[in-house]
């Protein structure tokens, strides 16, 4: 979607929404792409889900952490387990280690999502391969409040792909995985497939990408979008 249209669509939706957490979220303007990326606030987000189909599958957990410019504030780190309907498919439980028992201790999505939205207001969403996160969050918002999620999003995978393409470095699909990229930038490896760990990894990856692209003359937020 066009970056310029985004702000216009935010205002349009704001007028059409009744009072709800999604409306509160939309009150804050999106950060302008022309701003210096170091003056912008971000939220790195990762989801664990029961599958890849946003219409059928459910969110199992959400992890997020806020960034102020090029600094990650660990005091904003959050991890929420979501209570799901029905049983968790065994094949997905193998990956994220969230079993029915664990999920039963979770909270309702309608409780967790407003928390995330409150942090996301006025900030840019960072995710690795952001399409999945955006689809699931949009589906969830639509279910809860009748409208999808409008957000300014920065995809660390897209940033990485563009960089490789621009430098004409050949790469495989697996080179673009979160953990392969973290290794490339000398970042610590956290236990994989935990929503907060992956959100933190994505946040660190963004810091690394920004540090390597910033030649000292400053960069605009738009350069990463």
């Amino acid at each position: 979607m066009s970056r310029l249209l985004l702000e216009w669509r935010r205002r349009w939706r704001l007028r059409r929404l009744a009072a709800c957490p999604l409306r509160d979220y939309l009150e804050a303007p999106f950060p302008q792409p022309r701003r210096d990326y170091r003056d912008v606030e971000y939220v790195a987000v990762d989801l664990e889900t029961t599958g890849l189909n946003a219409r059928r599958d459910q969110i199992l957990s959400i992890g997020w952490v806020c960034l102020a410019g090029n600094r990650i504030r660990l005091n904003s780190a959050r991890h929420r387990l979501i209570r799901v309907r029905g049983n968790i498919p065994a094949d997905s439980a193998v990956i994220h280690q969230i079993t029915d028992d664990v999920a039963a201790s979770g909270i309702a999505l309608s409780t967790a999502l407003p928390e995330l939205l409150a942090d996301l207001a006025g900030r840019v969403l960072i995710a690795h391969h952001a399409r999945v996160e955006l689809r699931f969050l949009t589906a969830a918002c639509r279910r809860l409040w009748g409208q999808g999620l409008l957000v300014r999003a920065l995809d660390t995978q897209t940033v990485a792909r563009r960089l490789l393409e621009r430098r004409q470095i050949p790469f495989k699909g697996s080179d673009l995985r979160l953990h392969s990229l973290c290794e490339r930038y000398n970042l610590p490896r956290y236990g994989a497939h935990n929503a907060l760990s992956d959100a933190l990894s994505a946040a660190e990856l963004f810091l690394a990408q920004a540090a390597h692209r910033d030649t000292g003359h400053g960069m605009k937020l738009g350069d990463f979008l």
């Binding site: 600094r71 959050r78 660190e204 690394a208």
Partner: protein, 621 residues
């Protein structure tokens, strides 16, 4: 807290000084942190922080240089960077830093650091440089963490696997043999009224009874060994093993407060430890050719590796390896005598340096000398020259390379009668000169290896008398002991070798171990002590008040810690099939070990300074 920050919590928990914080404080600590990423080549500290922070390196490296661009220190994962936090925390003090790798750092606000220091004494102590405790804990951790700690931690009482089998000294040899046979044991302890009077072994029955034609009806007293080495029941298995290798015995009676408790045999030890200096020594004594000796000595590397893995300290490894070197030396002398015939006059083969101190690692170079009885005739020297040549060549073939300084018995200067040796020492003690200082580490650490006629005692006595009257040479030696300084900068950072083959390392032997060995020698000589081993010298010097008992204990710990790191470094190299060396990179160490090594170096520095003041060593340097 969110349990998922557990990985950051665990990282902190593994690094000094955060390892000293209670669990619940550690749980909340990650939330107080900010994360920053500094690309390689970024100035450090970056200068755009909103308030003062302590930087904790999670990944990457930072180099600190002084105003002239000299590398002062390289910080790596787990290190605390100099900060503006002040009050004992490391500070930049005019240095300039730069990241030399892509670096991820955790930032703790200085006011949080202050809060932690105020609330947690143990944590604060890290900044107050309570060196001694930190070292001791580190040493304990290192020896206890090692794999297969068996012999290091087990006491011999737990190795005794059967009830004591014993008899009276007046039973017949046949009855003794019957008791042993029925109990299926290879040794029998002989007691009288609960008191240990002797012991016989299978071998004694064979050698002293059957082969010697002694009647089995005779009392066992006739063939028993009377003067026995014993160990207490709380002795560590490892110490018992060393005692056995040194004495070349296979059985040791174990005593407790009530008398004999049992007999420890080598097979008891082998059950817990397969690498075994005792067996190497046994094989050496049976070896009939140089080739066999050389192939046995090839197993020394294996011995060092196994000892390191079983958690032995540097002292213990040094004792075990030196026991093997002593045995090889003795065996080479026996083989040489078998070829050249009996010596025309008595002689003593003396070892100097690390062999004398029982501090060898596998493949030290050789330092030795020959002391000959005064009544030798000029023509007799041909014999001793040939003898010395054979043993020096033999040691070289066994991997103990020729001494670079030519301190070997085959060198005419170091193959002399007692009266000449007395003259040498008289000169070194009364008119110290630089040459004597160079030799001091060899000849003031001297131990007889093969001395059937007891010549060494006379020389030792004369040295003792001469040195008691003189103190000037000690001042010279004190100055000499300050030559090798630990590789630590003025605020606890490693000073590394720059460029060349050993880039980014430091020489742990010359800058960590030699300084302590030199200090111990000065303390021992100044107090007129006979000990040669560095740990024994320090302990005795502490007891004799030549230095404070705290100072002695701390130096022992520092020596063991540094030495054990060195042994481990070498064992890793040997395991990879490389030559062992002394060049250690800080990156080989865990963050905790790096911290403790810095403590040890700081301690050496302090002790050197106080020694320097006492002898005003600058006057003699």
């Amino acid at each position: 807290m969110d349990v998922e920050l557990i990985e950051i919590r665990e990282f902190l928990a593994g690094n000094a000084p955060f390892d000293r914080l209670p669990d619940e404080v550690l749980d909340r600590l990650p939330q107080r942190l900010t994360v920053r990423y500094l690309r390689r080549g970024t100035p450090f500290p970056p200068g755009d922080d909103d308030r003062p922070y302590l930087y904790i390196l999670r990944r990457g490296a930072v180099e600190l240089r002084d105003a002239d661009g000299n590398l002062i220190s390289k910080l790596a994962e787990g290190d605390l960077c100099p900060s503006p936090c002040g009050d004992g925390a490391p500070s930049m003090g005019g240095l300039r830093g730069q990241t030399t790798e892509d670096t991820l750092a955790y930032l703790l606000p200085c006011e949080e650091l202050d809060r932690l220091r105020a609330a947690h004494v143990e944590f604060a102590a890290h900044f107050d440089a309570s060196v001694s405790e930190r070292l001791r804990t580190a040493l304990d951790a290192m020896t206890h963490d090692a794999a297969g700690t068996a012999l290091m931690t087990v006491q011999v009482r737990d190795l005794l696997n059967r009830a004591l089998v014993h008899g009276g000294p007046d039973i017949s040899i046949r009855d003794a043999a019957r008791i042993m046979s029925e109990a299926r044991v290879s040794s029998l302890v002989l007691t009288e009224a609960g008191r240990l009077v002797g012991m016989i072994t299978d071998r004694d029955l064979r050698n002293r009874c059957l082969a010697a034609g002694v009647s089995p009806q005779e009392p066992v007293r006739r063939i028993m060994t009377e003067h026995l080495h014993t160990v207490r029941d709380d002795t560590l298995g490892f110490e018992a093993l060393i005692t056995m290798s040194r004495l070349n015995v296979h059985h040791l009676p174990v005593l407790d407060d009530n008398g004999v408790r049992g007999v420890l045999s080598t097979s008891d030890l082998v059950r817990v430890q397969s690498a075994n200096a005792v067996y190497l020594v046994g094989d050496i004594r049976k070896a009939r050719s140089l080739e066999t000796l050389a192939s046995i000595s090839g197993r020394l590397t294996e011995l060092q590796i196994q000892l390191v893995h079983s958690g032995a300290t540097a002292s213990q490894i040094g004792q075990a390896i030196t026991a093997v070197t002593d045995a090889i030396t003795t065996r080479l002398l026996e083989l040489a005598e078998a070829e050249l015939g009996a010596p025309p006059v008595p002689y003593c083969w003396m070892a100097g340096g690390s062999q004398a101190r029982r501090e060898q690692s596998s493949y030290s170079d050789q330092d030795n000398a020959l002391l000959i009885a005064d009544h030798l005739k000029p023509e007799d020297d041909d014999y001793f020259k040939a003898l010395a040549r054979r043993v020096n060549d033999g040691l070289d073939a066994c991997g103990y390379i020729y001494c670079p300084g030519e301190v070997m018995a085959s060198n005419d200067k170091w193959r002399q009668p007692l009266k000449i040796w007395t003259k040498y020492f008289n000169t070194w003690i009364k008119r110290p000169e630089p040459m004597a200082l160079m030799l001091s580490s060899v000849f003031f650490d001297l131990r007889p290896i093969h001395d059937p006629e007891g010549l060494f005692g006379e020389l030792a006595e004369r040295i003792h008398t001469m040195s008691k009257k003189e103190t000037i040479y000690i001042a010279y030696m004190a100055a000499n002991a300050l030559k090798h300084r630990p590789p630590i900068g003025f605020f606890r950072n490693f000073v590394l070798i720059r460029g060349g083959e050993h880039n980014q390392t430091f020489d742990i032997k010359h800058r960590g171990i030699v300084p302590i060995v030199d200090l111990a020698r000065v303390y021992a000589l100044s107090a007129g002590l006979d000990e040669i081993n560095t740990v024994e010298r320090l302990r005795a010097a502490g007891a004799a008040r030549a230095l404070s008992s705290d100072g002695a204990a701390n130096l022992v710990d520092a020596y063991e810690f540094i030495g054990t790191l060195r042994m481990r470094h070498q064992a890793e190299q040997l395991k990879r099939g490389e030559m062992a060396d002394n060049f250690l990179s800080p990156e080989e160490l865990s963050p905790l070990e790096r911290g403790h090594l810095k403590d040890a170096f700081a301690l050496i520095n302090k002790m050197q300074e106080s020694l320097g003041q006492r002898y005003q060593a600058g006057r003699f340097a």
